[in-house]
Symmetry: C2
């Protein structure tokens, strides 16, 4: 491709609205442009990278035996009503009405459509297992789109759905996809970690997220410093020692203390001159099992998903002011366990506490020297809090460390959630009707590209791994007026392209500095520079974008050498080579 003919509007300045590196870089390199809030166009450079990632995904999905299909973007409301997600999905679901007043949504995911297909086509256990995937546009009406394509509204996902006769079969399908995802992200040159995860609105019984580690990641990964346990912090279990020693301190007399104008835990701790670890927070929730209280230590937070699991409820939300006032006879902010008449679940961290502080169920007042079993009883101790850095690993007890991560893929074991809701059944080998056991598996393509850039860039621009680079090599003749130089550059360009190397040939009448800046910015892994001095000696220069390392070589050897470098680098991203 000749630079002069390539539609590549690069910019020297960062866009004002871009907060993170990948967004800035994708904008400045002319990879993307925003059409409207959360909706982007990909320009040719960005789309070339996109297609590289897409092809890696397609190859690995096919290798894993999945079969590509196309499911429509526009989906009828009736299917979503069958699974109740027409309601549950809320405002993120972009809804519309056609000319005949029928309701549809722009699919944010395709479980309903594929389950409908499966129930119409599958009759017998003989037709399974199989796995269908697509690379298709989704829309989620994010309330606050940001970070460029990282959190946008219209985006392209690879989503796959597996169909098995039983749990054991589904496990096989699940781990096949897990392995395929490892290969995919390895080939994309990402540093990533598969972590245990919650399954959220998709549902199901078991899930892993694939996290690309990056400081701007919106997710937190808790991983063990000793064993290979890793989980999204929202999911991370907490190590509970079987004997947590009680603090060696006598139970003192409970006292009510006035705490006017104290709004936060930290302010309360300051006011009482006690660490937050000596405070207990009492949170009142409404659930479909009624009103309950969750008790956690002052420096901890309730993990609502864990509490939901403990309560075996699918609906849980912080109680309204009216409910809190009705139960505690005081305004919000002063709830405490003493005298509270609702079921109470306490986090394990409360077990060893003595002489602690709680709300007094009275405006502007707290209780000090509160003690378990003397002043109040909890219904149950459980793991109901968010993990924090320094917690113990639930598998081995060693220290957990926290990292930020970008979720680039997620695999879900759905079980029979959708097949039950939509009556997708088959006849087993004894003629019994059973529910199909499903899994689903997603990868966000543009987000993967953003994550690659977050991990691979410097102040001059992106540094693409060869496997996903828009071009393998840029060829930069420094003086387009030197006819012989240009002819040689052109000959090398053609020679490389003939061998399958993708070349951006900078044939523009620009100063060398401009050309070098654009070559750096666009992140092409290798640059072949034809300068006049070297050229007079029959030499040229090869520069690696990643290291800045340059080497001179004979012009006549260039094609063979560069082809070998490109092929060797491409091979280095293959999982076979990474062990």
């Amino acid at each position: 491709m000749r630079f002069s003919q390539f539609f590549l509007p690069t910019l020297r300045e960062d866009p004002a609205e871009a907060e993170i590196v990948s967004h800035k870089m994708m904008f400045r390199t002319g990879m993307i442009r925003q059409v409207t809030s959360g909706i982007y166009a990909f320009l040719p450079l960005g789309w070339r990278v996109f297609k590289k990632v897409e092809n890696i995904i397609r190859e690995e999905m096919n290798r894993a035996g999945a079969q590509e299909v196309y499911l429509p973007a526009i989906q009828p409301a009736e299917l979503w009503q069958e699974t109740d997600r027409w309601q549950e999905y809320g405002k993120e679901l972009l809804r519309m009405t056609d000319r005949h007043d029928r309701q549809y949504c722009f699919g944010p995911t395709h479980e309903e459509v594929i389950t409908d297909l499966a129930r119409r086509e599958i009759r017998s256990y003989r037709q399974m297992p199989f796995n269908l995937y697509q690379i298709q546009i989704k829309f989620r009406d994010e309330i606050r789109p940001r970070f460029g394509v990282m959190r946008c509204r219209e985006f392209i996902m690879k989503d796959a759905y597996s169909f098995d006769v039983d749990e054991a079969g589904c496990d096989v399908s699940y781990w096949k996809m897990y392995d395929a995802y490892r290969r995919i992200f390895t080939r994309c040159g990402l540093i990533f970690r598969p972590v245990e995860a919650e399954s959220g609105l998709i549902g199901g019984s078991f899930s892993h997220e694939f996290m690309a580690l990056a400081s701007i990641g919106e997710e937190t990964v808790a991983s063990c410093t000793a064993c290979d346990y890793a989980a999204n912090v929202k999911k991370a279990e907490i190590f509970v020692s079987n004997d947590q020693p009680k603090r060696k301190e006598k139970n003192r007399r409970m006292q009510k203390v006035p705490t006017p104008d104290i709004k936060t835990i930290d302010a309360l701790a300051d006011f009482l001159d006690t660490p937050p670890q000596n405070l207990v927070k009492t949170l009142i929730f409404e659930s479909d099992k009624g009103v309950v209280a969750g008790l956690v230590r002052g420096d901890h937070d309730v993990n609502e998903i864990k509490l939901m699991t403990v309560l075996e409820t699918s609906r849980l939300e912080l109680a309204s002011d009216e409910v809190v006032e009705g139960i505690t006879h005081s305004p919000k902010g002063f709830a405490g366990p003493v005298g509270l008449k609702v079921p109470m679940i306490a986090d394990h961290a409360l077990e060893p506490m003595v002489n602690f502080v709680t709300g007094a169920n009275e405006k502007d007042a707290h209780l000090t020297n509160v003690n378990l079993n003397r002043d109040f009883h909890v219904d149950r101790f459980a793991d109901i809090r968010m993990a924090v850095e320094g917690d113990g690993c639930p598998r081995c007890g060693e220290l957990l460390r926290f990292d930020r991560g970008i979720e680039v893929g997620q695999v879900f074991k759905l079980g029979t959630k959708y097949s039950e809701a939509m009556k997708a059944t088959y006849l087993d080998d004894k003629g019994n009707e059973k529910h199909i056991v499903m899994g689903c598996y997603g990868i966000g393509l543009a987000r993967t590209i953003a994550a690659i850039i977050e991990q691979h860039h410097d102040e001059n621009g992106a540094i693409f791994p060869m496997s996903v680079a828009p071009f393998h090599v840029s060829i930069v003749p420094v003086n387009d007026q030197n006819r012989e130089l240009m002819q040689t550059a052109e000959r090398i360009s053609r020679g490389l392209q003939k061998e399958g190397v993708e070349v951006l040939f900078d044939d523009r009448s620009e100063r060398p500095g401009v050309k070098f800046k654009d070559a750096d910015l666009t992140g092409i892994p290798l640059r072949v520079t034809l300068g006049e001095k070297n050229f007079a000696k029959g030499l040229l220069e090869i520069r690696k974008r990643e290291t800045g390392q340059t080497s001179r070589m004979e012009i006549d050897e260039t094609v063979a050498t560069v082809v070998a470098m490109v092929q060797e680098t491409l091979r280095s991203y293959m999982p076979e080579r990474n062990g």
Copy 2:
């Protein structure tokens, strides 16, 4: 691919709702399934064909120098309001409102989005020419979706947009695309014809449609039997001889005759015992130039687009009953030119007519023996009718023939329609601000597949051209209990795949008849059959799907022979080979 693992729900029966062969075949072969009215899923077999067509298009677009991009499906209303198409597009435009109450549409085409991009990025004549294309989902809310993917609502189009500094440049871009389209449809194995066309809602000054000839086509192609003129019948001009001889008949006295309960032209001709060619139809239209009458011969129809061109108006519709009654003082159906007080445009075919019949502007009455210039005057003669079979070619005067066609692609010279509406300008080499000159170019991918099947099938199923076949070869061992036979089949399958031949290996425990039927149905060009009798002699059978021709060969020669057959057949679809 092993048949036993391939998700291929074939059917023996045609679906009830399918009216045309391609719809029946795509359904029966498990290529597609309807999700809801006009919205389809592609299953693995169909998607394999789709990807073949997509790759041919991508290769040829790239060869023509176009650059691939991605423009979003969801487009903001504001852009469409700038070009007035938010109104003009009517109910075919699927509209929606997001959570912040902003309006969007699902793009049925992308002129607005790309012109917006161009006006933001293009400053100088130096940045042009370029051509951006995408392969993207569109939605048109057809009032009556039908014929499967031929006229559906959600569909994938390749759309390209060219940007040039002037008309001459745009012409170059246009004909480049025209040539690329010829190559694309040739490679798809289609019998097609590029024809002059109207530009409809897209607009612009000049257009060609690429018509795949097929009896079920919804379009009519008029083409000359002598020269290479061809046009959509809606566009076809009509040859008008410079001296049309008047009928040699004296002008007779005009008479009013009662014609009670006569509703149609044919009934009127019968009643008056005169051919329809002796009748004149008077149609009253409203336009933004006021009310006008169009006069055509009884056996002809007004072509409203031609009449609009003559009137230089962009709005024309049949007048309402009230307007007709106000002007003719009679109910609809009795309008005639005698005494009519609105501008009248008459088709050239009226020029030689004498003693003809018209409406009397009076209920249940017509006039006979009406004559031009004696009884009424027209404002202008012009070509305002639809061509009919037997008309003369506008270029050479020879006979026009009519064929049915499926529009698989269309190229438009847009000129400055969008760049003026959206102020997309650039500075020329003298520093003057000018409007960008645009072209746009579309191909319907699924419709192309349907057209291929319409042209290539027999009663047993599809017969895919090798270039777009879902697999090149099916391998059918007749007895899956014969271990040696199965191993040989498997060995051949692997040998072929290693050479890049795509194989569907029918490893199922089915009777040979079932396997042969599925091989025929799915339209795979070559079938390798391993029967037990041949196998005992070291032989197997190769069968061509298209001709049914079979030949026996040595098992050991199979891989080399089949690879050569596949490669040779693939080459035969390349335009280079077709001259």
